[in-house]
């Protein structure tokens, strides 16, 4: 039962993250929300595996965590190159 | 190690080109990739001929991949309905690869050859895979292989507009394939199986349920999109126009027909057998669109200034003929439909091969700029004449035979049929107009400058010439394709998948 409670809590925070991601206003808000959403997903996955009694699926959560990291890094890399490109344009 | 390869023909038809594709990627020197591709295409052609000859004798080739019996595994089946099209597909691949050698070398940088030819083989494998498969989902997988491969091939076109054309094609093609996937999913939901024969057995029990009706709708619309049925043809004209010439030859001969095949096979075996109303709905959906397509696209072709676009619009009109025959739901109608797939492939490949030959000497394939080309390229022009005659349906050419069968089938329909015969004749007249317009420019218009005799390279000429002659051969001796089409029509009407 406690697991269900936890699940509901996580779901609630997910909703909050989605609200932030959708409403913005700045891009950084959204990126942060996306990242946070990824984290919540990992948690939710773990909880759900316990609820369903399939703890052998916990490694899935691991995969999600890893992928989330790569996603964030890719976003950062994108900004980095954007920034450079814009700076480069100013220099010219 | 004693084994009988003839037992494995259906799978070989698919995996020979499929598995050759990655190997071709490794072949760097420029002629090698091409030569390997041609060899593989010819091998596939030989396999298709072998199977067609066995089907003609009444065999049905059945194959269970992985040794799992249907419906648990994936089954392949070659019968009269697909045997002829397999010959068309592999034949078109060989013809186009052989007959457009110089054109390909001129349009695709040698560095990109291995990738290009790998995609070529994938297209052949994908289309063959769709044809031999007796599993609804497996058809989707191979549909995607063929679609991706054709996107790649078309994107190889030199003009930047090729990119726009291919993007449009990609979007519409994906929507079409996804619709098909939805339809298959809905049927699977109601029957629990993916094997076509098994589905055909189970669908009648649930035929009146809404998901099945919905599935019929999704599958028909999805495949009609893939088949470029009017008015879902908007992707086709520019795609054929801007594709490399060799690709136009290949796709025009068989690209959309495979989708038509899937449509007919699924519709006749799954829906019409189980639901009486369905056949009426099917006919009511297809017939007006087919007729409109015939008229509108022929008319557009009459006023089209670009040679290849004109031919592309004519292709859409021809798809109309094919589906008009099918929408009659009679044996004669289906015979004409299947036969026309074969005959139109002959005519269009000859015409596009001629266009490829013309492109070797004329930078610009606008019809107006080809003035007097017949003096410079008499053989090419003769090929164009023969292909054009076949497209019009002049007696003695292949195009006539299928049109005649179609008209006979239409006349069986009584008064309504008479009107459709009139439409077919009017559109033939339009075909005369657009073919003639080109011929007149080729033969009788004074060229801007002095033109010397300068034909296309010999290999291209020989292949284009033989494609044109095939139109005559099958116009005068249509017995074999006709027999296969009749068998196929019986199979389809019989409802057996």
């Amino acid at each position: 039962m406690i697991l269900v409670g936890v699940a509901v809590a996580i779901l609630t925070t997910m909703v909050l993250a989605v609200i932030r991601a959708v409403s913005g206003p700045s891009i950084y808000d959204r990126v942060l929300a996306a990242n946070m959403f990824g984290t919540k997903t990992v948690l939710l996955l773990a909880v759900v595996s316990f609820i369903f009694g399939r703890t052998d699926f916990l490694d899935l959560a691991l995969a999600y965590a890893l992928i989330n990291l790569v996603g964030v890094l890719a976003v950062l890399g994108f900004f980095e190159s954007r920034l450079k490109a814009e700076r480069g344009r100013v220099d010219e | 190690m004693s084994m009988d390869l003839s037992l494995h023909l259906p799978i070989l038809q698919v995996i020979v080109p499929l598995l050759a594709a990655p190997l071709v990627v490794l072949l760097q020197p420029r002629n090698l990739a091409w030569a390997a591709t041609v060899a593989v295409c010819l091998l596939a052609f030989a396999i298709a001929l072998q199977m067609a000859s066995r089907v003609l004798l009444g065999d049905i080739l059945y194959y269970e991949v992985g040794g799992w019996r249907a419906p648990f595994g994936i089954a392949l089946q070659v019968d009269a309905v697909n045997a002829l099209l397999l010959v068309v597909v592999s034949g078109a691949a060989s013809l186009a690869a052989l007959g457009c050698r110089e054109s390909l070398f001129a349009q695709i940088e040698p560095r990109r050859h291995p990738l290009f030819f790998a995609a070529w083989l994938l297209l052949l494998a994908g289309l063959s895979g769709m044809l031999v498969s007796a599993d609804a989902f497996n058809i989707f997988v191979f549909m995607e292989i063929s679609s991706l491969a054709s996107y790649i091939l078309i994107a190889g076109g030199p003009d930047r507009r090729a990119l726009l054309a291919v993007f449009k094609y990609l979007v519409m093609g994906t929507i079409g394939a996804t619709f098909y996937l939805i339809g298959v999913g809905l049927i699977y939901m109601m029957t629990g199986t993916l094997n076509l024969a098994d589905m055909a057995r189970l669908v009648p029990e649930v035929a009146d349920q809404r998901p099945v009706l919905l599935a019929a709708g999704f599958i028909t619309v999805g495949l009609a999109l893939k088949a470029a049925l009017f008015p879902m043809h908007v992707w086709l004209a520019n795609a054929y126009m801007h594709a490399p010439h060799a690709v136009s030859v290949f796709l025009a001969a068989c690209g959309t027909k495979v989708a038509v095949y899937v449509l007919l096979r699924i519709d006749f075996s799954l829906f019409q057998a189980g639901n009486l109303d369905h056949s009426i709905r099917f006919a009511l959906f297809l017939m007006p669109l087919a007729l409109l397509g015939i008229l509108v696209c022929s008319a557009v072709a009459m006023f089209e200034g670009q040679l290849k676009r004109m031919l592309a619009f004519s292709s859409v009109a021809q798809i109309g003929y094919i589906l008009l025959g099918a929408s009659l739901l009679s044996e004669a109608g289906l015979t004409s439909s299947l036969l026309h797939m074969f005959n139109h492939a002959l005519a269009k490949s000859a015409l596009f091969l001629a266009a490829a030959c013309l492109s070797m000497r004329f930078m610009d394939l606008r019809i107006d700029s080809l003035a007097g080309a017949a003096r410079q390229m008499p053989v090419t022009s003769a090929v164009f004449v023969l292909g054009g005659l076949s497209l019009i349906g002049v007696p003695g050419t292949a195009g006539f035979v299928s049109k005649w069968v179609l008209i006979t089938a239409l006349l069986e329909q009584g008064e309504q049929g008479m009107v459709m015969v009139a439409i077919v004749l009017v559109s033939s007249l339009m075909a005369v107009a657009y073919v003639w317009r080109t011929l007149e420019v080729l033969y009788f218009k004074e060229p801007a400058g002095e033109l010397k005799f300068a034909e296309a390279p010999p290999l291209m000429l020989v292949i284009a010439g033989s494609a044109a002659l095939l139109n005559l051969v099958f116009g005068l001796m249509p017995a074999v394709p006709l027999a296969l089409s009749q068998q196929a029509a019986q199979v389809l009407i019989g409802g057996a998948p």
């Binding site: - | 007696p395 035979v401 033939s428 007249l429 003639w436 009788f444 249509p478």
Partner: protein, 486 residues
């Protein structure tokens, strides 16, 4: 066997002419003449057998059961083939003179297409069924297009387009549906004595089908599908001769006669009153075309309208549906061919020699070109139907047929049109011989056309007269068609 050769000779002649044309003009023309002679020899060698009632057949191959490409020689076709192949020789001789005299370009294409159109004409003549006939009919249209548009300038091309457009549209839009309809009701397309439609069709449908055939065969130039014929006047004169006398329009009326005799069957048509409109339509065309001809000022246009009228003679004769009239229809094809080819040759000769094209310029020309104008006069008389010319023979038969049928419309038409013919030909003949050359024309000093041209027109002029005297074999041949009619 001979049939196959008859088809192969002109078909192979075309590429040979092209090949020879690469070498020299003389060789090319030799090849043309040899081909023409060989063809004529082969065709005429069939004549005895057909005269004896034989029907040589050639089965080429079957397209779709029961459609086949097959050939069969019967009297009408025999006559048409003999006429076309014989006149080809004369026409070739004439062409050599005309084309060289005019220094035309693209002569090789001209001769090659000529051979092809003869191939098509022979195919039409020997066709054993409607499908084969249709195939060669279309081939004839296509192979004559390059000839009509020979000059290649803007006017010519647009006129040639009218030619092609009318012929193709009518054949595909009307003729082909008629064939399909026939096949649908009769189940066969073979030509058979007595027709194939009897018992399968009745009432207005017969009239409608007949209409599809008559107007579908645009080459027969029934009004209102005659527009192509005046338009085709832009062609060089040998081509006009081909169109008017040798092959094209003859193919049209031949097809209609053949359809009436072998598809509908004369007896069957006779029993269906709805089909009688054809006679009236033909009469209408005869009268109107003659009236239009009366107003023409250009020689070739006048001849074109005269042809339209004469063609409808054939159709009207066939539509009288009496044995004598059927013979008259066949004979008129030949008679008109001789007369009209002479007239065209003469018109062409005048053009080559003096570049004159208008009637008004012809005054007094008879003394400059006596041979040409003599032949012209013979041709004109034949058109009117004055003995001793070929035209008289055929008109006689038609008139006899009309009396036999007590068909007063036909009789009146023949009489009226004869008067009209006389009204537009006699003034020309008169002014040619007795008119006075205007002053400005006198400076244009010229004599006869090149020898080859004059030779050709003399031959045809002589033939026009000879036919009056020696028409027995032809009539005997055509009696076979009429045999057994009521």
């Amino acid at each position: 066997m001979v049939i196959a050769l008859c088809l192969l000779v002109p078909l192979c002649g075309a590429p040979l002419i092209v090949a020879a044309g690469q070498v020299s003009a003389n060789l090319r023309e030799t090849v043309t003449l040899v081909t023409a002679s060989a063809l004529a020899f082969l065709v005429w060698s069939l004549l005895p057998e057909v005269m004896d009632g034989g029907r040589p057949e050639l089965f080429a191959f079957s397209l779709i059961e029961p459609l086949e490409i097959a050939f069969s020689v019967e009297p009408l076709g025999m006559m048409f083939a003999a006429l076309a192949s014989g006149l080809w020789i004369v026409n070739s001789i004439y062409s050599i003179g005309y084309m060289r005299g005019n220094q035309e370009k693209n002569q090789t294409r001209f001769y090659a297409c000529f051979a092809l159109s003869l191939f098509a004409a022979i195919g039409i003549a020997f066709a054993g069924n409607l499908l084969t006939l249709f195939l060669f009919y279309e081939m004839l249209t296509l192979s004559t297009y390059p000839l009509v548009s020979h000059k290649g300038d803007q006017d010519t091309v647009s006129s040639a387009r009218i030619y092609l457009g009318v012929l193709l549209t009518t054949s595909i839009g009307l003729f082909l549906p008629a064939i399909i309809w026939t096949y649908h009701v009769a189940g066969t397309l073979d030509f058979a004595m007595g027709g194939v439609l009897a018992g399968h069709l009745d009432g207005p449908a017969v009239g409608l089908l007949l209409g599809l055939f008559v107007f579908g065969v645009g080459k027969a130039a029934m009004m209102p599908v005659h527009r192509w014929l005046p338009a085709a006047m832009v062609a060089p004169t040998p081509v006009s001769a081909l169109l008017h006398a040798v092959a094209v329009v003859k193919a049209g009326v031949f097809t209609i006669t053949k359809v009436i005799v072998y598809i509908f069957g004369v007896e069957f048509l006779f029993s269906v009153p709805e089909s009688s409109w054809l006679l009236y339509a033909a009469s209408f065309t005869i009268i109107v075309a003659s009236l239009v001809a009366l107003r023409q000022t250009n020689i070739k246009r006048l001849l074109a309208y005269s042809t339209i009228a004469q063609l409808s003679y054939v159709i009207m004769a066939a539509a009288i549906l009496k044995p004598l009239a059927e013979i008259g229809a066949a004979v008129h094809m030949v008679a008109h061919a001789f007369g009209k080819i002479t007239l065209f040759f003469a018109a062409g000769a005048i053009y080559v020699a003096s570049k004159k094209t208008e009637l008004s310029q012809l005054a007094g020309i008879g003394y400059r070109m006596p041979w040409t104008m003599t032949a012209f006069t013979i041709g004109a008389l034949s058109m009117i139907g004055v003995p001793p010319t070929a035209g008289f023979v055929s008109k006689w038969f038609i008139l006899a047929g009309a009396f036999e049928a007590s068909n007063y419309v036909a009789i009146a038409t023949i009489i009226a049109s004869t008067v009209l013919n006389a009204a537009y030909f006699l003034p020309i003949v008169f002014s040619v011989w007795f008119g006075k050359e205007s002053a400005e024309l006198q400076q244009n000093d010229h004599g006869e056309a090149p020898f080859a041209a004059v030779l050709a027109l003399c031959i045809t002029g002589a033939l026009t007269i000879l036919f009056f005297l020696f028409n027995g074999p032809l009539i005997a041949l055509e009696r076979q068609v009429a045999a057994g009619l009521p």
